[in-house]
């Protein structure tokens, strides 16, 4: 078994794909350095980022698949599911090895596996667009904390930038320890140790806008009023809003 180690970035992953062809590796296991457990019998190859290499992989793919599928490869990569690199590699190899377009051949194990993963990532992205709750601070910044199952923050930037074009905001992923800051014009990545990483604990220290509590309270009270007791259906409710998302949902906190 040939192990290929990379740093977890999409760029280096594409270089890993390049190296598989360049070195004619067979029976490979592409793995991030963090996850690698080490096996003395494995041959280990370390990927070094080379923009020319990653560009060539992308260029090759562009000639074979639609823009949507190309983006699906990135989406599936962001799932960070263990072993996704190997599934993606098999997917890419299948695409390269065929003259005709095979991106929709759902009978192929790698194609269907990627389609299923993409579906999960898209659902998580959509959930973040729905479940993010901003809190307004004294200086007019709107901030939100998230802990998505998959690394979907890169996928939701555009949505929030278009929607909240006239307000400054920060969305911070505490699990992956990075965030996006929009200053009213541009978005940039931030990796500061955000002080409100635990909103429940730090409530007293967070300098919130004086109306923030009022609107949280109004939202909670709205949420309570619209329930129809005669139709109670907890199973359906949990299906739509699984418990792991409750932590950051204003309407699920104890009434203020």
């Amino acid at each position: 078994m040939q192990t290929i180690l990379y740093d977890g970035s999409y760029g280096e992953f594409l270089c890993a794909v390049f190296d598989v062809y360049d070195y004619k590796f067979v029976q490979v296991d592409v793995c991030t350095k963090d996850r690698f457990k080490g096996n003395i019998f494995d041959k280990v190859h370390h990927v070094h980022f080379n923009k020319e290499h990653s560009d060539r992989v992308l260029k090759g793919l562009k000639q074979k698949v639609s823009a949507e599928t190309l983006f699906d490869i990135y989406r599936a990569f962001l799932s960070e599911v263990e072993g996704i690199e190997n599934t993606l590699l098999r997917f890419i190899q299948y695409i390269y090895s065929n003259k005709n377009s095979v991106e929709k051949d759902f009978s192929h194990p790698a194609v269907i596996a990627i389609a299923d993963t993409v579906k999960k990532v898209r659902r998580e992205k959509h959930r973040m667009e729905a479940f993010i709750r901003f809190q307004k601070t004294k200086d007019g910044m709107f901030y939100a904390i998230i802990e998505p199952d998959y690394n979907v923050l890169p996928l939701i930037i555009r949505h929030f930038k278009n929607r909240y074009a006239d307000q400054r905001w920060i969305i911070y992923d505490t699990r992956r320890k990075f965030g996006i800051h929009y200053d009213g014009t541009n978005c940039s990545e931030i990796t500061i140790d955000f002080p409100a990483a635990n909103i429940e604990v730090n409530k007293d220290e967070t300098p919130l806008d004086e109306q923030e509590e009022l609107y949280q309270k109004l939202w909670q009270s709205y949420f309570k009023s619209i329930n129809i007791e005669a139709r109670k259906n907890t199973k359906l409710h949990l299906q739509h809003v699984p418990r792991r998302y409750w932590r950051y949902l204003t309407e699920k906190q104890v009434m203020l």
Binding site: V102, K104, D105, F106, S107, H108, I112, A115, D116, H126, E129, A130, F131, I132, R133, F134, Q135, K136, F142, A144, N162, R163, Y164, A165, D166, Q167, Q211, L214, Y215, K217, L218, W219, S221, Y222, F223, K224, S225, I226, N227, I228, A230, R231, K232, N233, T234, K235, L236, H237, Q239, H240, V241, L249, T250, E251
Partner: protein
């Protein structure tokens, strides 16, 4: 002051919650002006404890009402707390909820105070203020008030993404019985006006004249189910007519929640007909997305939907001669009709069979409901065995293998009073 606004919100959200629609999709309003918000794909921001999507701030401007419709909590004769928002209060709530990503926009309805136009004018004023003064591009759904004038509807259409007019009852007879102050023609006339205005607007757009959006997410309506004795056939016929002749985007079915002692209605404690409501939505989906004609689903001779099984399975059992379907050859339109195979799996089958001869193992990976599909495709069960199965047997196999998503405490049918 803060307590007062909270009380108003509780009253006026509570009064609005029986309006089912919470859709925020189908519009195409962009945030070109670097203002606040956009309306595009529809997002459910949370779900109530009963599992309904919460997408919009759904409130009444006021629950004062001059009408006395028996099925409505806000009816004149009902002894409840009344309240009314000011224009500014609705604007502030909408903007502040929106900025925190609680909602996709506003769904504003109202009790009728004074008269139809007076009420409609207030609704329009709020939408106008949000659009023009607050530069708000989020979703706005306004209720068309029965009997409102064409001029006000035309103005409403400029600011709203969706307009809706609730037909309330499936038949005019029921409407007369339960809502004696309302006339069906007062509902149909505004719907017709809006329909024609949308078509006219679309026509002008084709001339490449830069025109403003006009009700980009279209019209919808709602009827109360289970308060009156109409059959599913009557209900779905009406929906079909709305889709075909009024270009409606959605018809909503609202299972009656007992809120009154009125002897014209099911008594307090009667269970909400949730299964029936669900079956109606399934039938509605079959008409809109799967290419079924209304007469294939219910008919004058067989006017009620089966409560035990969904209408798609029901159709298949009645048309067993069309099955089993050859997965590798059949038209996409018939693959969509196989019970247990939805639009997504049908699409995967359609694409994948261009490469390989599909087997049952492939199908299972396409997330089909194998429990149902196995009786209707050519891959799983031997033909000689299948020939012996009657529709009733297949129905029993499927029912005993699956566990219904409905707990037994939900009554399938309206219990008679």
């Amino acid at each position: 002051m803060n307590d007062r606004i909270q009380e108003k919100l509780s009253i006026l959200a509570d009064a609005a919650k029986y309006d089912v629609s919470c859709s925020s999709s189908g519009s195409k309003r962009k945030n070109d002006s670097k203002g606040l918000g956009n309306a595009s794909n529809g997002i459910c921001h949370t779900y109530t404890a009963d599992g309904r999507c919460v997408s919009l701030l759904k409130i009444l401007l006021t629950n004062h009402c001059i009408y006395d419709c028996a099925y409505c909590v806000s009816r004149k004769s009902n002894d409840i707390k009344r309240a009314a928002f000011t224009v500014q209060e609705v604007v502030d709530l909408t903007i502040n909820f929106y900025r925190r990503n609680y909602i996709e926009g506003l769904f504003l309805s109202s009790g009728i105070f004074s008269n139809a136009d007076y009420t409609m004018e207030r609704l329009v004023r709020i939408a106008k203020k949000l659009r023009l003064e607050e530069n708000f591009n989020g979703y706005i759904h306004l209720k068309s008030i029965p009997g409102a004038s064409d001029e006000l509807l035309a103005e409403a259409g400029l600011y709203a993404d969706r307009l809706s007019m609730n037909i309330e009852m499936p038949t005019e007879t029921s409407l007369k019985l339960l809502a004696p102050d309302k006339k069906r023609e007062d509902m149909i006339k505004p719907m017709t006006f809006v329909k024609n205005a949308i078509i006219a607007n679309r026509g002008e757009k084709q001339l490449r004249v830069k025109k403003p959006l006009f009700v980009p997410a279209g019209q919808s309506t709602q009827m109360v189910i289970g308060a009156t004795p109409e059959s599913d056939w009557q209900i779905l016929k009406l929906s079909d007519g709305f889709y075909k002749h009024f270009n409606l985007k959605r018809v909503y079915y609202s299972g009656y929640v007992p809120i009154s002692n009125d002897n014209r209605l099911p008594a307090f404690g009667t269970p909400v007909p949730m299964v029936r409501e669900n079956r109606l939505y399934q039938a509605d989906w079959l008409m809109r997305f799967y290419g079924y004609g209304v007469d294939e689903i219910v008919s004058a001779d067989d006017p009620f939907l089966d409560m035990q099984i969904d209408p798609k399975l029901n159709w298949a059992l009645k048309n067993l001669h069309q099955f089993p379907v050859d997965i590798n050859k059949a038209d996409l339109s018939i693959i969509k009709r196989i019970p247990g195979i939805g639009l997504q799996s049908a699409y995967k089958i359609f694409e994948a069979r261009k490469f390989t001869r599909l087997t049952w193992d492939h199908l299972k990976k396409f997330n089909i409901a194998a429990n149902r599909a196995q009786y209707f495709v050519n891959l799983k069960i031997d033909d000689w065995l299948r020939k012996d199965y009657s529709p009733q047997q297949i129905k029993n196999f499927i029912l005993s293998a699956g566990n219904s998503k409905f707990a037994s405490n939900h009554s399938p049918q309206l219990s008679l009073f």
